[in-house]
Symmetry: C2
Subunit: 122 residues, 2 copies
DNA sequence: GCAAAGCATGGCTATTTTGCCAAATATGAA
DNA sequence: TTCATATTTGGCAAAATAGCCATGCTTTGC
């Protein structure tokens, strides 16, 4: 009855909780501001004020975004003095970000060459 | 001016298009039904009707979810005969799913042992 | 104690997402 | 052609999300 990552043992109705938790991670990463913050955190922990500067939104907005990431388990927070520092809590994320990043860079390059190279999209 | 996955060259304002595309991928994966379909596609391509059986929602709903995944570049579709077959288009996804899967399995186990083992949550 | 700085939360509105039904489209069979 | 099957799309209502302002909470400094 072990819960395996590839869910080999599950057929039509896999563990709902499992899927929901996993979807929560993706959903948390699925917003430009949150993804931007996560990308920034790859360089190391940052306080909320740093991330606010990065995003350029209201402090309350940034705080809510961070709450989403925290509740999904993507980041963790630690209070030191009057600041709260956020850090990545998902080690494998780095590899995946690199991978999707490469892919997207390719796509953007393709799109650019299609626009500039006189070729037609099918 | 190359667009690098880790965006070393970017400071306060990285390429918006890049971030938006990447967020789109995560957003697409951030819904239980869509994630469930993607998990199923790890075993190989499936037609929409297969996926409808899996999800148990209206065909139109399933079709819309697939459109989201397709537009994000997570899956690709191919028409053969009267069916349309969907397949994964993001090779690195498998590794990441395995990784987050392991993590979530741990979390669920922890939660279960906290509930059953008489320990208090802090 | 009081004020200020750093974050989080309540409350509100605008926007987006979801999911269903109905209708349109495309393909293969008769 | 006509019908049946497989899938997408239009349209709508309910639900969720995003972002702002104002307020509350906690820590530091005075």
């Amino acid at each position: 009855m072990a819960i395996l990552p590839n869910m080999n043992e599950v057929n039509a109705r896999p563990h709902r909780e499992y899927i929901a938790e996993q979807a929560k991670i993706f959903k948390a990463l699925g917003h430009p501001s949150r993804l931007l913050m996560v990308q920034a955190l790859r360089d190391g922990e940052k306080c909320v004020c740093d991330l606010q500067t990065l995003i350029g939104a209201d402090m309350s907005t940034v705080s809510r975004h961070l709450a989403v990431l925290r509740e999904a388990g993507v980041v963790r927070s630690e209070k030191r003095g009057t600041n709260i520092y956020y850090a990545l809590a998902l080690s494998c994320l780095d590899t995946f970000l690199h991978c999707t990043g490469t892919l997207i860079a390719e796509r953007i390059r393709e799109k650019a060459s299609l626009l500039g190279g006189g070729e037609r999209a099918s």
